[in-house]
Every structure is written in C-alpha cells, then in structure tokens.
Symmetry: C2
Subunit: 134 residues, 2 copies
DNA sequence: GTGGCTACTTACCGATGGAGAGTGACCAGG
DNA sequence: CCTGGTCACTCTCCATCGGTAAGTAGCCAC
C-alpha cells in the first residue's frame, strides 16, 4: 500500500480532480506521449544512451527528447549518468521509483495496441454518420 | 501521400514505437490530461451531463471538455445521448469499450496520487542541486 | 584544418490549449 | 412584450507548446 518511508505525513489525499493539485500535473506528465514511450523503452531494455533512445522512439525531435528526459530526471523517475569522455557519453535508466511505473504504463500501452482496431472502426463509423448528417 | 483510410486490414501487431502508428496516436489521446479525468469520472459515477462533468473536473474550459468528449465519442469510448428537451439535455457515459480502459487508467491515476510526495521531494532536491550548479 | 562523433541548445513558426463572450431554443416573471 | 435564466455548445483572441532545423563544444582521424 502506502510507502512506509514518508518523510512527513502527506495530505490526507491528493486529488487530480481538484484544480491545481500536483497529482493532476504529475498525471499529465507521466501520461504525455514521449514520457510514456521513454519510460516504456527504458523499462524494457534497461539503460540507454541518448542517440539510441532517439532511434527507438522513431519520430522524437532532439529537443523533445532532451526536455522529456530532463523532466523525468527532475521527477526522480530517470537517472542520468554522464561519462566524461569524448565524444560525450550519457546513459539514462529508470530509478526504483521509475520502475514502479512500469506496470501501469505497460497496461496502458497494451490497451492501446490491443484495442486500436476497435477504435479505428469506431472512428470510421462516426465519420460516416457525420458525413450523412452534414 | 499515403491514404490512411483503408485501415481495415489488421496489421500483425501495432507498435507505438513506430512513427505514425495509430496506436501511438491512440496512446496519446487516452493519456491526455482531460481524457483521463473524463473517463475516470464516467467510470466512477456513471452517466453524467455536460455541466455536471464540468464541475467535477474543476478547471476544464468548456471548449476543451466539448473537444475531449467529441474525440472520446468518435473513438467509441463514450456514448453521447441527446434528450430533445428545452433547455438542452445531453448525457455522457462509457461504452463497453470505454469500460475496458477503467483498469489501466485507474492504475495510472492511483500511481500519481500515491507517489506525488516522492516526486515532489525529488523535484526539490533536483532544483537545489541545479541552483548549486548554476 | 575539415569533417565527424555525441549530446545538447537556440531560433523560428505553425499548432494547440485556455479565457471568456456569444448563440439558440424555450420558458418564467414583471 | 421584453428581460433574464438555463444548458450545451461555438467562436475569437492570445499565450504556450511542439516540431524543424541549424548552431555549439570538445576532441580525434584524415
């Protein structure tokens, strides 16, 4: 259940349905397109360098990958390790906290893969009906 | 460009790590801030009217709520029922397909609530270190 | 001394999201 | 008869966000 190591007693309960609640913010972050994919990739294959990650997430811009990784690092979900070499060498991997997100994220990713066909069908049907209405 | 309309052929397996894959798109949609909250709310409390939904999701703009609901309806996750009355009366509820998303989404929402404190702490630590570096 | 490697950073620009006012249909009150 | 209120939008304006592409830094091979 709850972690036994809370430094201080947290608020009775955070609620993402409340305006301005940090949990809503966090939910938004971890659910964002690139964050889901980065975390998924690091979860599946372990530590990874910047360029490799960029290749695996076909289509990310360098800017967004950097930005996503920074946010994830700041949130304590990803650890960034710099090896002072030339050319630069940086590795990213999940922290223990990041590991705890693997389950929920995998469930979401799997859902989207498994139900894509149904959704695509629903869209077609919707669009056909919309055309008829228009 | 390639036509995206003959998607009836179910690919061997969709992969969100592939550029332009519909599953990546879908993952993005269902993970978006307002979609998560709308689906969560409809999952918890059942059918709901527009205005009520707007109150529960403290902070949504009407525009975004409308847009989110339309997308969800088009994707076959939410059913929209209009009662031809005055003043207008519209109800939204999860479809069976939408119901299958409850689990994954609840897991994600719960994670964010349960780990907000750790993340907040990590952010503080990161910011302190960053200040020292700067 | 030019190019290449790696991991960024910066500048620019179109797309997206939020705030807030307007719309249409109808009815109750004055 | 005219105003105000209800509900579910819809439209407009502006700020922020995401994508594209070019630039940066340090060192090495050619």
């Amino acid at each position: 259940m709850a972690t036994a190591e809370n430094v201080t007693e947290p608020m009775a309960s955070w609620d993402p349905y409340t305006r301005g609640c940090p949990s809503r913010d966090l939910l938004d972050q971890i659910g964002s397109k690139w964050a889901v994919l980065v975390l998924g990739e690091l979860g599946k294959h372990g530590a990874c360098r910047f360029t490799r990650l960029r290749q695996r997430l076909a289509g990310v811009s360098e800017k967004m990958l950097t930005q996503t990784l920074r946010t994830l690092e700041r949130d304590g979900l990803v650890r960034r390790t710099v090896y002072p070499e030339v050319p630069p060498h940086v590795e990213y991997e999940l922290t223990p906290l990041g590991q705890t997100l693997r389950g929920p994220l995998r469930a979401l990713t799997q859902w989207s893969v498994e139900h894509v066909d149904e959704v695509l069908a629903a869209r077609q049907e919707y669009d056909v009906r919309a055309e008829g209405t228009a």
